[in-house]
């Protein structure tokens, strides 16, 4: 059977998560209106080290995710794998929406930080300013060390 084709004979729809379990794989449909494609990609990218991931499109706005184990796996392990993938997809979707919702304010703060950095005086400017500064009178003798003050005659 070619990858991506539905293996009707070896698949048994018995998972409580709605996952179709096969001999060595689990597959499930994802509604793209709920989980954006970027979230599916994000989950898939994290799972390619653990299993084989294949995406197909059975109908518009629906993505079928097929996770094939790298070695022998029980139905429970396959279902757990699919469950973890679904959780990761949810996390990715939430992060994506948060990122989109805060885009403007992040851009604002970045621009403000760059503006502040551009207008900040350099070290050379500060040293030149110190050199140019004229020290005035010191009526309170702040510049005289305390031990010198104590040794002065009364």
């Amino acid at each position: 059977m070619a990858i991506g084709e539905q293996d009707v004979q070896s698949e048994v729809p018995e998972s409580r998560l709605g996952v179709v379990l096969g001999r060595d794989h689990a597959s499930f449909d994802v509604d793209e209106t709920v989980y954006p494609l970027e979230a599916i990609y994000g989950g898939a990218y994290l799972f390619v080290d653990r299993c084989f991931v294949f995406l197909s499109r059975p109908k518009p706005q629906v993505v079928n995710v097929r996770l094939t184990s790298r070695g022998a796996a029980t139905s429970a392990e396959l279902e757990a794998l699919a469950g973890e993938f679904m959780n990761e997809m949810l996390s990715q979707a939430a992060r994506l929406r948060l990122s989109q919702a805060t885009t403007r304010i992040r851009e604002y703060y970045t621009a403000a930080a760059l503006r502040a950095a551009a207008s900040a005086p350099s070290v050379d400017d500060l040293l030149a300013e110190l050199d140019a500064e004229e020290l005035g009178d010191d009526p309170l003798e702040i510049s005289v060390p305390w031990d010198k003050k104590g040794s002065e005659p009364q």
Partner: protein
Amino acid sequence: MGQITFDRSLYTTDAVEAAAAAYAEYADIALEQSSDTVVAVVGAVRGHDRDTIEHSFCNLVLQETVVRMRRPATPAAPESD
């Protein structure tokens, strides 16, 4: 001989081509393109069993697709006055 169908709304053609080139050492892979799909026809395989090579090839196509999707668009060259 196995056929793997990649939907172009999910996988980029560039990614399939890059993965096929990377797997040239392990399998003879020919690509057939249509408007909606890219079909990889996997011929003779070398070094590993067919299932492992085909599944690993699919993983690489997916990885290449994700990397390409996440890559920021190349900024346009500044216009010369």
